[in-house]
Symmetry: C2
Subunit: 246 residues, 2 copies
């Protein structure tokens, strides 16, 4: 642990480094397959080693522990989700804030339904005994919420956002909460006022709440055949809750 960071960013010149990087990529790829097939808690380094065609102890040359592999998969999934969201949002005109918001929500939902195990790793209950190292996950882990507040802040600056949405207008923002919101506004360089920001947080959590219920099967197997329509309705309400004009 002298200074491996510059080496990691270097061009991987030596064959050893190239081979090592390729092996780690293989391990992550096989881990992703196992994650998708059997879920995060069933992820086994021994099984990954078998698929890699190597004895179990060999993978510890490349991955420190099972947790380390989980962290790699976590960052991988966060970036995949972030890419999907950025692509979907970027496909809409820059001034179509409502369209961008709906694209964001739909992108998260589609990715979650396509990769339920990865989604569970990111937004489900934390896997036991595993604490995601903040310094490696906060960056990719906040891409979605950063994109969301970027949309809301852009709409606010463009004058396309109601003061607080029709309902949040008369809900108090206490002094303590206002202090938190001021911190966030400062750190992210936002212009939106408190009621919009507070409602935005609720919209953020509500979006993932609706998606989690669907992905995790909380609706039950029978209720809500028309889940696309249900989610579209929720997105419409949430857009209004955020203050977006339609």
């Amino acid at each position: 642990m002298t200074d491996a960071a510059p080496a990691a960013e270097a061009a991987l010149r030596t064959p050893r480094e190239r081979a090592r990087a390729r092996t780690i990529e293989d391990i992550v790829r096989i881990g992703r397959e196992h994650l998708a097939l059997h879920g995060a808690a069933a992820l086994s380094l021994r099984a990954v080693a078998r698929d890699l065609g190597v004895v179990s102890s060999a993978v510890y040359r490349y991955v420190e522990s099972r947790e380390e592999l989980l962290t790699l998969l976590l960052v991988d999934a966060y970036n995949e989700l972030g890419d999907a969201v950025d692509a979907a949002v970027g496909a809409r005109p820059e001034n179509d804030f409502t369209g961008r918001f709906e694209a964001l929500g739909a992108a998260v939902r589609n990715w979650a339904l396509a990769q339920p195990a990865s989604y569970a790793l990111l937004f489900g209950s934390p896997v036991p005994g595993y604490q995601a190292p903040a310094e490696r996950t906060t960056g990719p882990g906040t891409r979605v919420v950063v994109a969301l507040v970027a949309i809301l802040d852009g709409a606010w600056r463009a004058g396309n956002l109601s003061e607080a949405g029709p309902h949040a207008a008369d809900v108090d923002v206490t002094a303590l909460l206002a202090a938190d919101l001021a911190n966030i506004r400062g750190e992210m360089g936002l212009a939106v006022p408190d009621p919009v920001l507070a409602s935005g947080v609720l919209v953020w959590t509500s979006l993932f709440g609706a998606i989690s219920f669907e992905v995790f099967g909380q609706y039950g197997p029978d209720a809500f055949v028309a889940r696309d329509e249900l989610f579209a309705h929720h997105l419409g309400v949430l857009a209004r809750l955020a203050g977006l004009r339609t």
Copy 2:
């Protein structure tokens, strides 16, 4: 598996049955402790057996498998949450619908923060390889949402509910979605119109989304010191979203 159900409902007269029931209670109690301490995925029948002062294979006399114990704990947790919600809601006057709604939300959040592992078992990512048997969990599992729609339906019948809340009024409810809502209205004997019901589903999922983010640490360790205030704000907005007058 001839007909054990009537025997289970009988008075447990014989000493054998009494001792057996007591042992199962002990197992569930120890399981709850382990669940709270180490989480659902780390729940080990062997560890439970050790705490029970018995060899590991002995617990299989009382509990068919690890899944069986998880199901017992699941039902236990659902009922505990349902009891907490019912008590909190029942403490408010019957016609104070907004108060009842806020009491429901606060009760769920308080229980979740006090029992994060149990909450994760109920509303987090499903534990791998474990499928909750619907016939034993749907009853207690729906108590919270039943209590929620009871509040909204009562408010509607009492004329204390806006047609759809200020924002949901102009969000379409498509024909497909209306069919689902009609089913739900029929099964639960509700009177609320489609926009209220659709918004109610969103309020339901949003409530758990906000609580899950807080319990599962999605907010991050630093953001939102004033989490009580944040949740109170969200509850206020959600009440208005549901159409409750304040």
